[in-house]
Protein backbone atom coordinates (compact mmCIF):
# COMPACT_ATOMS: atom_id res chain seq x y z
CA UNK A 1 0.00 0.00 0.00
CA UNK A 2 1.28 3.44 -0.80
CA UNK A 3 -1.64 5.41 0.52
CA UNK A 4 -2.08 8.88 1.92
CA UNK A 5 -0.46 8.05 5.24
CA UNK A 6 2.79 7.20 3.58
CA UNK A 7 2.71 10.28 1.40
CA UNK A 8 2.26 12.53 4.43
CA UNK A 9 5.25 10.87 6.11
CA UNK A 10 7.35 11.96 3.20
CA UNK A 11 6.73 15.61 3.95
CA UNK A 12 7.04 15.65 7.71
CA UNK A 13 9.79 17.09 9.82
CA UNK A 14 11.32 13.64 10.35
CA UNK A 15 11.57 12.99 6.65
CA UNK A 16 13.31 16.31 6.07
CA UNK A 17 15.77 15.50 8.85
CA UNK A 18 16.54 12.20 7.12
CA UNK A 19 17.03 14.03 3.87
CA UNK A 20 19.44 16.41 5.57
CA UNK A 21 21.47 13.60 7.16
CA UNK A 22 21.73 11.84 3.80
CA UNK A 23 22.85 15.04 2.10
CA UNK A 24 25.52 15.47 4.77
CA UNK A 25 26.68 11.89 4.19
CA UNK A 26 27.18 12.61 0.50
CA UNK A 27 29.07 15.83 1.30
CA UNK A 28 31.16 13.90 3.83
CA UNK A 29 31.96 11.22 1.25
CA UNK A 30 32.94 13.59 -1.55
CA UNK A 31 34.44 16.64 0.14
CA UNK A 32 37.87 15.09 0.90
CA UNK A 33 38.19 13.81 -2.67
CA UNK A 34 37.27 17.17 -4.14
CA UNK A 35 39.78 18.86 -1.84
CA UNK A 36 42.58 16.58 -3.10
CA UNK A 37 41.73 17.29 -6.74
CA UNK A 38 41.47 21.02 -6.04
CA UNK A 39 44.85 21.16 -4.32
CA UNK A 40 46.50 19.20 -7.13
CA UNK A 41 45.95 22.23 -9.33
CA UNK A 42 47.10 24.73 -6.72
CA UNK A 43 50.25 26.56 -7.76
CA UNK A 44 51.37 27.01 -4.15
CA UNK A 45 54.30 24.79 -3.21
CA UNK A 46 53.06 24.15 0.31
CA UNK A 47 50.50 21.59 -0.78
CA UNK A 48 47.77 23.18 1.29
CA UNK A 49 45.35 26.08 1.33
CA UNK A 50 44.95 28.89 0.40
CA UNK A 51 44.60 28.38 -3.35
CA UNK A 52 47.10 30.65 -5.01
CA UNK A 53 46.45 29.97 -8.64
CA UNK A 54 45.83 27.33 -11.26
CA UNK A 55 48.80 25.24 -12.30
CA UNK A 56 49.60 21.93 -13.97
CA UNK A 57 53.22 21.95 -12.82
CA UNK A 58 52.71 19.21 -10.17
CA UNK A 59 51.44 16.79 -12.79
CA UNK A 60 54.49 17.54 -14.94
CA UNK A 61 56.79 17.01 -11.96
CA UNK A 62 54.97 13.78 -11.22
CA UNK A 63 55.57 12.35 -14.68
CA UNK A 64 59.26 13.22 -14.36
CA UNK A 65 59.58 11.41 -11.03
CA UNK A 66 61.08 8.06 -12.04
CA UNK A 67 60.45 6.34 -8.69
CA UNK A 68 56.72 7.03 -8.96
CA UNK A 69 56.61 5.76 -12.53
CA UNK A 70 58.39 2.60 -11.34
CA UNK A 71 55.92 2.19 -8.49
CA UNK A 72 53.08 2.46 -11.01
CA UNK A 73 54.60 -0.30 -13.10
CA UNK A 74 55.11 -2.57 -10.09
CA UNK A 75 51.54 -1.99 -8.90
CA UNK A 76 50.10 -2.63 -12.34
CA UNK A 77 52.00 -5.86 -12.97
CA UNK A 78 51.20 -7.06 -9.48
CA UNK A 79 47.50 -6.23 -9.78
CA UNK A 80 47.11 -7.96 -13.16
CA UNK A 81 49.06 -11.12 -12.29
CA UNK A 82 47.61 -11.63 -8.82
CA UNK A 83 44.04 -11.05 -9.95
CA UNK A 84 44.46 -13.40 -12.92
CA UNK A 85 45.60 -16.10 -10.50
CA UNK A 86 42.85 -15.31 -8.00
CA UNK A 87 40.22 -15.37 -10.75
CA UNK A 88 41.41 -18.71 -12.11
CA UNK A 89 41.49 -20.37 -8.69
CA UNK A 90 38.37 -18.59 -7.50
CA UNK A 91 36.16 -19.55 -10.46
CA UNK A 92 37.10 -23.21 -10.01
CA UNK A 93 36.26 -23.06 -6.31
CA UNK A 94 32.97 -21.25 -6.91
CA UNK A 95 31.97 -23.88 -9.50
CA UNK A 96 32.65 -26.67 -7.03
CA UNK A 97 30.70 -24.95 -4.26
CA UNK A 98 27.60 -24.19 -6.31
CA UNK A 99 27.39 -27.03 -8.80
CA UNK A 100 28.22 -29.97 -6.56
CA UNK A 101 27.09 -31.23 -3.19
CA UNK A 102 29.77 -32.92 -1.18
CA UNK A 103 30.93 -33.50 2.34
CA UNK A 104 32.54 -30.67 4.27
CA UNK A 105 31.05 -27.97 2.06
CA UNK A 106 30.03 -25.68 4.94
CA UNK A 107 33.47 -25.88 6.51
CA UNK A 108 35.20 -25.19 3.20
CA UNK A 109 32.92 -22.22 2.62
CA UNK A 110 33.99 -20.76 5.94
CA UNK A 111 37.67 -21.46 5.31
CA UNK A 112 37.46 -19.67 1.96
CA UNK A 113 35.97 -16.60 3.65
CA UNK A 114 38.62 -16.57 6.37
CA UNK A 115 40.79 -13.76 4.96
CA UNK A 116 37.79 -11.40 4.89
CA UNK A 117 37.60 -10.77 8.62
CA UNK A 118 41.20 -11.36 9.56
CA UNK A 119 43.20 -8.24 10.37
CA UNK A 120 45.57 -7.56 7.52
CA UNK A 121 48.41 -6.78 9.90
CA UNK A 122 48.22 -10.30 11.31
CA UNK A 123 48.15 -11.82 7.83
CA UNK A 124 51.09 -9.65 6.90
CA UNK A 125 53.18 -10.66 9.91
CA UNK A 126 52.32 -14.34 9.66
CA UNK A 127 53.11 -14.77 5.97
CA UNK A 128 56.27 -12.67 6.24
CA UNK A 129 57.66 -14.74 9.10
CA UNK A 130 56.58 -18.06 7.63
CA UNK A 131 58.19 -17.44 4.23
CA UNK A 132 61.33 -16.04 5.83
CA UNK A 133 61.52 -19.26 7.84
CA UNK A 134 61.27 -21.23 4.60
CA UNK A 135 64.22 -19.13 3.35
CA UNK A 136 62.00 -17.27 0.94
CA UNK A 137 63.01 -13.61 1.29
CA UNK A 138 60.67 -10.69 0.81
CA UNK A 139 60.24 -10.32 -2.92
CA UNK A 140 57.79 -9.76 -5.72
CA UNK A 141 56.80 -13.42 -5.49
CA UNK A 142 55.72 -13.00 -1.86
CA UNK A 143 53.62 -10.00 -2.88
CA UNK A 144 52.09 -11.99 -5.73
CA UNK A 145 51.18 -14.92 -3.49
CA UNK A 146 49.92 -12.66 -0.71
CA UNK A 147 47.74 -10.50 -2.94
CA UNK A 148 46.27 -13.59 -4.59
CA UNK A 149 45.25 -15.02 -1.22
CA UNK A 150 43.81 -11.68 -0.10
CA UNK A 151 41.58 -11.21 -3.14
CA UNK A 152 40.59 -14.86 -3.61
CA UNK A 153 37.52 -14.77 -1.30
CA UNK A 154 36.08 -11.77 -3.14
CA UNK A 155 36.33 -13.52 -6.51
CA UNK A 156 34.69 -16.64 -5.05
CA UNK A 157 31.83 -14.57 -3.59
CA UNK A 158 31.19 -12.59 -6.77
CA UNK A 159 31.23 -15.66 -9.05
CA UNK A 160 29.17 -17.71 -6.59
CA UNK A 161 26.49 -15.02 -6.53
CA UNK A 162 26.22 -15.21 -10.31
CA UNK A 163 26.25 -19.01 -10.46
CA UNK A 164 23.41 -19.29 -7.94
CA UNK A 165 21.22 -17.17 -10.18
CA UNK A 166 22.01 -19.34 -13.20
CA UNK A 167 19.76 -22.27 -13.88
CA UNK A 168 21.40 -25.54 -14.68
CA UNK A 169 19.15 -26.39 -17.63
CA UNK A 170 21.56 -25.01 -20.19
CA UNK A 171 24.41 -27.10 -18.91
CA UNK A 172 22.23 -30.20 -18.65
CA UNK A 173 21.03 -29.68 -22.21
CA UNK A 174 24.60 -29.43 -23.49
CA UNK A 175 25.61 -32.55 -21.60
CA UNK A 176 22.64 -34.56 -22.84
CA UNK A 177 23.42 -33.47 -26.40
CA UNK A 178 26.79 -35.14 -26.11
CA UNK A 179 29.17 -32.37 -25.04
CA UNK A 180 31.75 -33.36 -22.49
CA UNK A 181 32.33 -31.50 -19.23
CA UNK A 182 35.05 -29.26 -20.60
CA UNK A 183 33.08 -28.41 -23.73
CA UNK A 184 30.04 -27.63 -21.63
CA UNK A 185 32.08 -25.34 -19.45
CA UNK A 186 33.78 -23.43 -22.25
CA UNK A 187 30.74 -23.21 -24.54
CA UNK A 188 27.92 -22.75 -22.00
CA UNK A 189 28.94 -21.98 -18.44
CA UNK A 190 31.85 -19.66 -19.04
CA UNK A 191 30.03 -17.31 -21.43
CA UNK A 192 27.08 -17.21 -19.04
CA UNK A 193 29.19 -16.30 -16.02
CA UNK A 194 31.56 -14.06 -18.00
CA UNK A 195 30.21 -10.83 -16.47
CA UNK A 196 30.88 -12.16 -12.96
CA UNK A 197 34.31 -13.43 -13.96
CA UNK A 198 35.26 -10.04 -15.38
CA UNK A 199 33.70 -8.33 -12.37
CA UNK A 200 35.62 -10.58 -9.99
CA UNK A 201 38.83 -9.96 -11.89
CA UNK A 202 38.40 -6.18 -11.77
CA UNK A 203 37.48 -6.36 -8.09
CA UNK A 204 40.61 -8.40 -7.36
CA UNK A 205 42.76 -6.06 -9.43
CA UNK A 206 41.44 -3.01 -7.60
CA UNK A 207 42.02 -4.66 -4.23
CA UNK A 208 45.58 -5.53 -5.16
CA UNK A 209 46.30 -2.10 -6.62
CA UNK A 210 44.88 -0.54 -3.48
CA UNK A 211 46.48 -2.78 -0.87
CA UNK A 212 48.86 -1.13 1.53
CA UNK A 213 48.92 -2.69 5.00
CA UNK A 214 49.96 -6.21 4.10
CA UNK A 215 52.16 -4.90 1.28
CA UNK A 216 54.21 -2.91 3.78
CA UNK A 217 55.13 -6.19 5.45
CA UNK A 218 55.76 -8.19 2.31
CA UNK A 219 57.59 -5.84 -0.02
CA UNK A 220 61.32 -5.91 -0.40
CA UNK A 221 63.01 -2.73 0.80
CA UNK A 222 63.49 -0.60 -2.28
CA UNK A 223 60.52 -1.97 -4.19
CA UNK A 224 57.49 0.26 -3.92
CA UNK A 225 53.92 -0.04 -5.07
CA UNK A 226 51.94 3.16 -5.55
CA UNK A 227 50.27 3.04 -2.11
CA UNK A 228 53.52 2.29 -0.25
CA UNK A 229 55.23 5.02 -2.25
CA UNK A 230 52.59 7.51 -1.15
CA UNK A 231 52.91 6.20 2.40
CA UNK A 232 56.66 6.81 2.32
CA UNK A 233 56.22 10.27 0.78
CA UNK A 234 53.75 11.22 3.50
CA UNK A 235 56.38 10.58 6.16
CA UNK A 236 58.04 13.90 5.38
CA UNK A 237 55.09 16.19 4.73
CA UNK A 238 52.19 16.52 2.37
CA UNK A 239 53.54 17.92 -0.87
CA UNK A 240 51.58 19.20 -3.86
CA UNK A 241 53.03 16.27 -5.79
CA UNK A 242 51.15 13.80 -3.58
CA UNK A 243 47.92 15.65 -4.27
CA UNK A 244 48.62 15.43 -8.01
CA UNK A 245 49.34 11.71 -7.68
CA UNK A 246 46.13 11.37 -5.66
CA UNK A 247 44.15 13.13 -8.37
CA UNK A 248 45.58 10.82 -11.06
CA UNK A 249 44.76 7.75 -8.96
CA UNK A 250 41.24 8.99 -8.27
CA UNK A 251 40.58 9.34 -11.99
CA UNK A 252 42.01 5.87 -12.71
CA UNK A 253 40.20 4.09 -9.90
CA UNK A 254 36.90 5.70 -10.76
CA UNK A 255 37.30 5.00 -14.47
CA UNK A 256 38.11 1.29 -13.97
CA UNK A 257 34.87 0.25 -12.22
CA UNK A 258 32.91 2.48 -14.56
CA UNK A 259 34.35 0.65 -17.57
CA UNK A 260 33.88 -2.66 -15.76
CA UNK A 261 30.28 -1.90 -14.92
CA UNK A 262 29.64 -0.81 -18.49
CA UNK A 263 31.17 -4.01 -19.87
CA UNK A 264 29.16 -6.19 -17.49
CA UNK A 265 25.99 -4.42 -18.54
CA UNK A 266 26.84 -4.80 -22.22
CA UNK A 267 27.69 -8.47 -21.82
CA UNK A 268 24.56 -9.27 -19.85
CA UNK A 269 22.41 -7.45 -22.38
CA UNK A 270 23.73 -9.62 -25.20
CA UNK A 271 22.54 -12.77 -23.42
Amino acid sequence: MSGAGEASERHGLGWNALRLVTLCVYIFMFAPIIVVILLAFNSSRSGSFPMEGFSLQWFVKLSENQSIVDAFKTSLVLAVTSSLLATLIGVMAALALIRYSFRGKAVINNVLSLPLLMPEVVLGVALLMFLKFLSMPRSFLVLLVGHTVLSLPYVVLVVQARLIGLRQHYEEAALSLGANRLQTFTAITLPLIAPAVIGGFLFAATLSFDNITATLFWKKPGIETVPTKIFAMLRTSISPEINALGAVMIVITIALPLIGGFMIRRLSRVR
Binding site: L18, S48, M92, L112, V122, I212, I230
Partner: protein
Protein backbone atom coordinates in the same frame (compact mmCIF):
# COMPACT_ATOMS: atom_id res chain seq x y z
CA UNK B 1 38.44 -39.53 -16.55
CA UNK B 2 37.98 -38.12 -13.09
CA UNK B 3 35.40 -39.82 -10.94
CA UNK B 4 32.35 -37.66 -10.34
CA UNK B 5 32.65 -37.62 -6.57
CA UNK B 6 36.23 -36.39 -6.78
CA UNK B 7 35.44 -33.56 -9.11
CA UNK B 8 34.47 -30.86 -6.57
CA UNK B 9 37.55 -31.56 -4.48
CA UNK B 10 39.72 -31.32 -7.57
CA UNK B 11 38.17 -27.97 -8.47
CA UNK B 12 38.63 -26.73 -4.93
CA UNK B 13 42.16 -27.97 -4.45
CA UNK B 14 44.04 -24.93 -5.84
CA UNK B 15 42.02 -22.55 -3.64
CA UNK B 16 42.29 -24.71 -0.53
CA UNK B 17 45.95 -25.44 -1.12
CA UNK B 18 46.88 -21.78 -1.45
CA UNK B 19 44.90 -20.85 1.65
CA UNK B 20 46.41 -23.74 3.61
CA UNK B 21 49.93 -22.87 2.55
CA UNK B 22 49.82 -19.10 2.70
CA UNK B 23 47.21 -18.39 5.35
CA UNK B 24 46.63 -21.26 7.75
CA UNK B 25 50.18 -22.58 7.90
CA UNK B 26 51.60 -19.09 8.59
CA UNK B 27 49.12 -18.57 11.47
CA UNK B 28 50.09 -21.93 12.95
CA UNK B 29 53.71 -21.00 12.43
CA UNK B 30 53.51 -17.74 14.37
CA UNK B 31 51.69 -19.62 17.11
CA UNK B 32 54.71 -21.93 17.38
CA UNK B 33 57.07 -18.98 17.03
CA UNK B 34 55.46 -17.20 19.97
CA UNK B 35 57.08 -19.82 22.25
CA UNK B 36 60.54 -19.47 20.76
CA UNK B 37 63.37 -18.08 22.78
CA UNK B 38 64.96 -14.80 21.82
CA UNK B 39 68.65 -15.15 22.56
CA UNK B 40 70.82 -12.21 23.60
CA UNK B 41 72.48 -12.03 20.20
CA UNK B 42 69.07 -11.44 18.58
CA UNK B 43 68.76 -14.99 17.24
CA UNK B 44 65.48 -16.78 17.77
CA UNK B 45 65.92 -20.35 18.97
CA UNK B 46 63.12 -22.91 18.64
CA UNK B 47 61.89 -23.59 22.16
CA UNK B 48 58.76 -24.07 24.20
CA UNK B 49 58.64 -21.47 26.93
CA UNK B 50 56.12 -18.84 27.97
CA UNK B 51 58.51 -15.92 28.39
CA UNK B 52 57.18 -13.94 25.41
CA UNK B 53 53.58 -14.41 26.48
CA UNK B 54 54.39 -13.47 30.05
CA UNK B 55 56.23 -10.29 29.14
CA UNK B 56 53.46 -9.13 26.78
CA UNK B 57 50.57 -10.08 29.07
CA UNK B 58 52.37 -8.52 32.01
CA UNK B 59 52.95 -5.25 30.19
CA UNK B 60 50.22 -2.74 31.03
CA UNK B 61 51.17 -0.68 27.96
CA UNK B 62 49.90 -3.39 25.59
CA UNK B 63 46.69 -3.74 27.59
CA UNK B 64 46.19 0.02 27.32
CA UNK B 65 46.79 -0.17 23.56
CA UNK B 66 44.22 -2.95 23.23
CA UNK B 67 41.69 -1.00 25.27
CA UNK B 68 42.27 2.20 23.29
CA UNK B 69 41.92 0.29 20.02
CA UNK B 70 38.62 -1.21 21.09
CA UNK B 71 37.25 2.05 22.50
CA UNK B 72 38.14 3.99 19.33
CA UNK B 73 36.66 1.25 17.15
CA UNK B 74 33.47 1.19 19.24
CA UNK B 75 33.08 4.96 18.99
CA UNK B 76 33.62 4.78 15.23
CA UNK B 77 31.03 2.01 14.94
CA UNK B 78 28.54 4.04 16.99
CA UNK B 79 29.03 7.07 14.74
CA UNK B 80 28.54 4.89 11.66
CA UNK B 81 25.28 3.57 13.15
CA UNK B 82 23.96 7.01 14.09
CA UNK B 83 24.78 8.54 10.70
CA UNK B 84 24.49 5.46 8.51
CA UNK B 85 21.11 4.19 9.65
CA UNK B 86 19.13 7.37 8.84
CA UNK B 87 20.90 7.67 5.50
CA UNK B 88 20.20 4.03 4.65
CA UNK B 89 16.57 4.52 5.69
CA UNK B 90 16.25 7.53 3.45
CA UNK B 91 17.86 5.71 0.52
CA UNK B 92 15.62 2.68 1.00
CA UNK B 93 12.40 4.67 1.25
CA UNK B 94 12.94 7.61 -1.08
CA UNK B 95 11.28 7.69 -4.48
CA UNK B 96 14.01 8.93 -6.72
CA UNK B 97 13.90 7.45 -10.18
CA UNK B 98 17.63 7.04 -10.10
CA UNK B 99 18.09 5.21 -6.82
CA UNK B 100 20.73 3.01 -8.40
CA UNK B 101 22.69 6.14 -9.23
CA UNK B 102 22.48 7.36 -5.63
CA UNK B 103 23.81 4.03 -4.35
CA UNK B 104 26.48 4.02 -7.01
CA UNK B 105 27.61 7.50 -5.99
CA UNK B 106 27.82 6.41 -2.38
CA UNK B 107 30.20 3.65 -3.38
CA UNK B 108 32.28 5.67 -5.78
CA UNK B 109 34.73 6.85 -3.09
CA UNK B 110 34.93 3.21 -2.06
CA UNK B 111 36.85 2.40 -5.20
CA UNK B 112 39.34 5.16 -4.66
CA UNK B 113 42.62 4.09 -3.19
CA UNK B 114 42.41 3.72 0.57
CA UNK B 115 45.60 5.64 1.23
CA UNK B 116 44.41 8.57 -0.85
CA UNK B 117 41.10 8.67 0.95
CA UNK B 118 43.05 8.65 4.20
CA UNK B 119 45.57 11.37 3.42
CA UNK B 120 42.77 13.50 1.98
CA UNK B 121 41.83 14.11 5.61
CA UNK B 122 45.18 15.77 6.21
CA UNK B 123 44.14 18.29 3.55
CA UNK B 124 40.76 18.73 5.19
CA UNK B 125 41.72 18.90 8.86
CA UNK B 126 45.32 20.14 8.78
CA UNK B 127 46.58 23.45 10.13
CA UNK B 128 46.25 25.04 6.68
CA UNK B 129 43.55 22.58 5.74
CA UNK B 130 40.13 23.17 4.27
CA UNK B 131 38.16 23.46 7.51
CA UNK B 132 40.60 25.79 9.23
CA UNK B 133 41.11 28.07 6.25
CA UNK B 134 37.36 28.38 5.63
CA UNK B 135 36.66 29.16 9.30
CA UNK B 136 39.55 31.63 9.45
CA UNK B 137 38.54 33.49 6.31
CA UNK B 138 35.00 33.74 7.68
CA UNK B 139 36.47 35.21 10.83
CA UNK B 140 34.92 32.56 13.05
CA UNK B 141 38.27 31.58 14.56
CA UNK B 142 41.48 33.55 14.94
CA UNK B 143 43.99 30.76 14.83
CA UNK B 144 43.79 27.24 13.35
CA UNK B 145 42.17 24.58 15.52
CA UNK B 146 44.08 21.39 16.27
CA UNK B 147 41.93 18.93 14.36
CA UNK B 148 44.61 16.64 12.98
CA UNK B 149 46.94 14.06 14.51
CA UNK B 150 44.68 13.12 17.41
CA UNK B 151 41.94 10.60 18.11
CA UNK B 152 39.37 12.86 16.47
CA UNK B 153 41.07 12.68 13.08
CA UNK B 154 41.55 8.91 13.44
CA UNK B 155 37.84 8.46 14.08
CA UNK B 156 36.98 10.71 11.12
CA UNK B 157 39.28 8.72 8.85
CA UNK B 158 37.91 5.38 10.07
CA UNK B 159 34.28 6.49 9.80
CA UNK B 160 35.01 7.75 6.29
CA UNK B 161 36.12 4.36 5.06
CA UNK B 162 33.61 2.31 7.07
CA UNK B 163 30.38 4.29 6.61
CA UNK B 164 29.54 2.76 3.20
CA UNK B 165 29.81 -0.75 4.71
CA UNK B 166 27.24 0.23 7.33
CA UNK B 167 24.90 1.94 4.89
CA UNK B 168 24.81 -0.89 2.36
CA UNK B 169 24.15 -3.53 5.02
CA UNK B 170 21.30 -1.57 6.60
CA UNK B 171 19.96 -0.61 3.18
CA UNK B 172 19.74 -4.21 1.97
CA UNK B 173 18.03 -5.21 5.17
CA UNK B 174 15.50 -2.34 5.03
CA UNK B 175 14.89 -2.92 1.34
CA UNK B 176 13.94 -6.53 2.03
CA UNK B 177 11.22 -5.68 4.57
CA UNK B 178 7.68 -6.46 3.44
CA UNK B 179 6.05 -3.03 3.38
CA UNK B 180 2.66 -4.55 4.12
CA UNK B 181 3.84 -5.18 7.67
CA UNK B 182 4.35 -1.47 8.20
CA UNK B 183 1.02 -0.63 6.61
CA UNK B 184 -0.64 -3.19 8.88
CA UNK B 185 0.92 -1.60 11.96
CA UNK B 186 -0.33 1.82 10.85
CA UNK B 187 -3.83 0.50 10.16
CA UNK B 188 -3.89 -1.02 13.61
CA UNK B 189 -3.24 2.39 15.13
CA UNK B 190 0.49 2.70 15.52
CA UNK B 191 2.04 6.13 15.11
CA UNK B 192 4.81 6.37 12.49
CA UNK B 193 7.39 6.34 15.28
CA UNK B 194 5.80 3.29 16.95
CA UNK B 195 5.71 1.54 13.59
CA UNK B 196 9.38 2.20 13.16
CA UNK B 197 10.28 1.08 16.66
CA UNK B 198 8.12 -2.02 16.75
CA UNK B 199 8.29 -3.24 13.15
CA UNK B 200 10.95 -1.65 10.97
CA UNK B 201 13.82 -1.44 13.42
CA UNK B 202 13.61 -5.04 14.67
CA UNK B 203 13.36 -6.32 11.09
CA UNK B 204 16.43 -4.36 10.06
CA UNK B 205 18.55 -5.58 12.96
CA UNK B 206 20.38 -8.26 10.93
CA UNK B 207 21.71 -5.59 8.58
CA UNK B 208 22.54 -3.28 11.44
CA UNK B 209 24.35 -6.11 13.22
CA UNK B 210 26.32 -7.14 10.15
CA UNK B 211 27.29 -3.54 9.43
CA UNK B 212 28.34 -2.94 13.03
CA UNK B 213 30.47 -6.07 13.23
CA UNK B 214 32.18 -5.19 9.96
CA UNK B 215 32.85 -1.64 11.10
CA UNK B 216 34.21 -2.75 14.44
CA UNK B 217 36.44 -5.55 13.16
CA UNK B 218 37.83 -3.52 10.26
CA UNK B 219 38.44 -0.51 12.52
CA UNK B 220 40.16 -2.53 15.22
CA UNK B 221 42.42 -4.18 12.67
CA UNK B 222 43.31 -0.97 10.84
CA UNK B 223 46.87 0.25 10.69
CA UNK B 224 47.30 2.90 8.02
CA UNK B 225 44.56 5.24 9.26
CA UNK B 226 45.89 5.58 12.84
CA UNK B 227 49.44 5.73 11.52
CA UNK B 228 48.73 8.60 9.13
CA UNK B 229 46.06 10.52 11.03
CA UNK B 230 46.91 9.68 14.63
CA UNK B 231 49.08 11.65 16.97
CA UNK B 232 51.22 10.97 19.98
CA UNK B 233 48.18 10.12 22.10
CA UNK B 234 46.88 7.57 19.59
CA UNK B 235 47.51 3.97 20.54
CA UNK B 236 46.54 1.35 18.04
CA UNK B 237 47.33 -2.30 18.46
CA UNK B 238 48.34 -2.92 14.86
CA UNK B 239 50.79 -0.03 15.09
CA UNK B 240 52.47 -1.78 18.00
CA UNK B 241 52.69 -4.96 15.95
CA UNK B 242 54.26 -3.11 13.03
CA UNK B 243 56.79 -1.35 15.24
CA UNK B 244 57.79 -4.56 17.00
CA UNK B 245 58.06 -6.69 13.85
CA UNK B 246 59.41 -4.23 11.26
CA UNK B 247 61.06 -1.71 13.58
CA UNK B 248 62.59 -3.82 16.33
CA UNK B 249 62.66 -7.11 14.37
CA UNK B 250 61.45 -8.80 17.56
CA UNK B 251 59.52 -11.63 15.99
CA UNK B 252 58.60 -13.67 19.08
CA UNK B 253 56.95 -10.62 20.66
CA UNK B 254 55.38 -9.71 17.32
CA UNK B 255 53.87 -13.20 17.10
CA UNK B 256 52.35 -12.90 20.56
CA UNK B 257 50.90 -9.46 19.78
CA UNK B 258 49.45 -10.66 16.45
CA UNK B 259 47.84 -13.65 18.11
CA UNK B 260 46.34 -11.51 20.88
CA UNK B 261 44.78 -9.16 18.32
CA UNK B 262 43.54 -12.13 16.29
CA UNK B 263 42.06 -13.87 19.31
CA UNK B 264 40.36 -10.81 20.76
CA UNK B 265 38.71 -10.10 17.40
CA UNK B 266 37.80 -13.78 17.08
CA UNK B 267 36.01 -13.50 20.43
CA UNK B 268 34.04 -10.51 19.15
CA UNK B 269 33.12 -12.44 15.99
CA UNK B 270 32.20 -15.55 18.00
CA UNK B 271 29.94 -13.58 20.34
CA UNK B 272 28.29 -12.03 17.29
CA UNK B 273 27.92 -15.40 15.61
CA UNK B 274 26.16 -16.68 18.72
CA UNK B 275 23.32 -14.23 18.05
CA UNK B 276 23.45 -13.55 14.33
CA UNK B 277 24.59 -15.36 11.21
CA UNK B 278 28.03 -14.75 9.82
CA UNK B 279 27.02 -15.73 6.31
CA UNK B 280 25.12 -12.43 6.02
CA UNK B 281 28.42 -10.66 6.41
CA UNK B 282 30.26 -12.67 3.82
CA UNK B 283 27.40 -12.10 1.42
CA UNK B 284 27.54 -8.36 1.95
CA UNK B 285 31.06 -8.31 0.57
CA UNK B 286 29.82 -9.52 -2.79
CA UNK B 287 27.43 -6.63 -3.26
Amino acid sequence: MVKAEHRPYLLLSPALLSLALFLIAPIIFIFAYSFWLRADNGQDIPAFQFGNWQSVLGDSFYWLALRETFVTSAVTTLICILVGYPAAYFLARCRFNNKALLLFLLFLPFWISYIIRTFAWINVLGKNGFVNSVLMSLGLIDEPMKLLYNNFSVIMGLAYFLLPYMIINVYVSLDGIDRNLESAARTLGCTPWQTFREVTLPLSLPGLGAGSLLCFVLAAGSFVTPRLLGGTDTLFYSEQIYDVVIGQLDWPTGSVLSLILLMSLAIVVAVYNRFMSLSDIYRSFAK
